[in-house]
């Protein structure tokens, strides 16, 4: 019995020696089993996932008001709490989108940034909201949408770029308040209607127009051209001929017939 156990122990020691020897061989001489490859793959994907999480946490902490002036943050929190309470909004689904559009004054100017706290948003939503804050071209309502629908926001952003490119094919520059501006809004609305349907497209378009500093006449122009883009897309989709060319033709028709709203014509 004891000899048998002794024999087994010797075998175990030999096996261990074999493994040790194999480990000390140069990498090229080692046998790479499929399991080893798989474990390496898993290890690298875990590392990437870990680094991404770390990045998100760093950004979330970096954007956290806790890093700012404590006194200012306290006063701001009290003011913001009053600001949020007055709105009678309830935490939960859809709260974030509505919260960031509550009107602000001098004392509550920064409060939309605290909406993720008041709305009890998840850690992921809060992190995404803070990350989207790094892109200054977004209105607060767009940041809220980016937190709630990150992949659609990314697509919407790509489509805005595409809309600009289509319009640059028609106009020699991207300007404000002229036909090229009308074109960008028209095309963006239409492309989003095609990809997301009119309900979600309208959400993005409305969020884009929630800029409190935009003059009212410019906002009215943008909203009008957004509506035209939405209805043009719906018409073309119904006829099952949706393409960028069809869309451009429809825009040119609407421009010629004076439907496209512009505040400025031609060169200065």
């Amino acid at each position: 019995m004891s000899a048998k156990i002794f024999g087994q122990n010797i075998k175990k020691l030999r096996d261990r020696d074999k493994i040790l020897k194999q480990d000390s061989l140069p990498k090229s001489k080692k046998e790479e089993s499929p399991n080893l490859k798989l474990s390496l793959k898993l290890r690298s994907s875990n590392t990437i996932r870990g680094l991404t999480k770390l990045f998100l946490v760093i950004i979330a902490i970096w954007n956290s008001p806790a890093l700012g002036d404590e006194v200012r943050a306290k006063v701001a929190t009290d003011d913001c709490l009053n600001w949020f309470t007055r709105s009678k909004l309830k935490p939960g689904k859809g709260c974030l989108g509505k919260c960031v559009t509550i009107p602000t004054d001098m004392s509550s100017f920064d409060c939309p940034n605290s909406c993720t706290n008041f709305c009890d948003s998840s850690l992921g939503t809060s992190a995404l909201f803070n990350i989207s804050d790094l892109y200054p071209g977004l209105t607060p309502a767009e940041k809220a949408l980016a937190a709630e629908m990150p992949s659609k926001t990314l697509k919407a952003y790509q489509l805005s770029w595409k809309a600009e490119q289509i319009c640059l094919g028609m106009f020699p520059a991207s300007l404000t308040n002229d036909a090229s501006d009308g074109c960008r809004h028209y095309m963006w609305s239409a492309l989003m209607t095609k990809d997301f349907g009119d309900e979600i497209a309208s959400k993005f378009l409305n969020a884009h127009e929630q800029d409190p500093e935009q003059p009212s006449e410019e906002k009215a122009m943008d909203i009008e051209n957004n509506k035209l883009g939405l209805s043009a897309a719906s018409l073309i989709i119904k006829s099952k001929k949706f393409s960028e060319d069809e869309l451009s033709k429809k825009f040119q028709q609407d421009l010629k017939s004076g439907k496209i709203r512009v505040l400025k014509q031609g060169d200065k």
Partner: protein, 140 residues
């Protein structure tokens, strides 16, 4: 141990070099084509920036003030978009989003002619962080 350390350092250097290159490319990609102050001066000349004159000026006269704006950009850093609008007038160019204050300083009549604009870049609080002269259109 030494060779391991050397390997680590070389991998780190390659990674840093790659990241630096990537950042440079991303910055150019993000910002598009821009001009330095000296190039702006060489291209459009120089004139003292005057808020009232800028508001009323033709595009060519605005362009002459661009270099001066770049040189004195510190006096604009931290200002709100509404203050820029008040000081320089309505925005008339376009840079990625309607949010950025932009002013055309050279207007191309077709796709073969370049259009340039002054852009007030914004920080996370939507205050001015930097002024650039950016090519609005077109890549000939």
């Amino acid at each position: 141990m030494n060779s391991k350390f050397a390997k680590f350092i070389s991998v780190l250097l390659v990674f840093l070099g790659f990241s630096w290159g990537l950042l440079g490319t991303a910055k150019h990609f993000w910002r598009g084509e821009t001009l330095s102050q000296s190039k702006v001066e060489a291209r459009w000349g120089t004139a003292e920036f005057d808020s009232e004159a800028f508001k009323k000026a033709e595009i060519s006269d605005r362009a002459k003030m661009a270099a001066n704006l770049l040189r004195n950009q510190k006096s604009f850093v931290g200002k709100k978009r509404s203050e820029i609008r008040k000081e320089l007038g309505s925005f008339d160019g376009f840079y990625f989003s309607d949010m950025f204050p932009t002013y055309i300083i050279q207007r191309g009549k077709n796709h073969q002619e370049e259009t340039w604009q002054i852009v007030f870049l914004l920080d996370r609080k939507e205050n001015v962080s930097e002024i650039i002269v950016h090519k609005n259109c077109c890549d000939n």
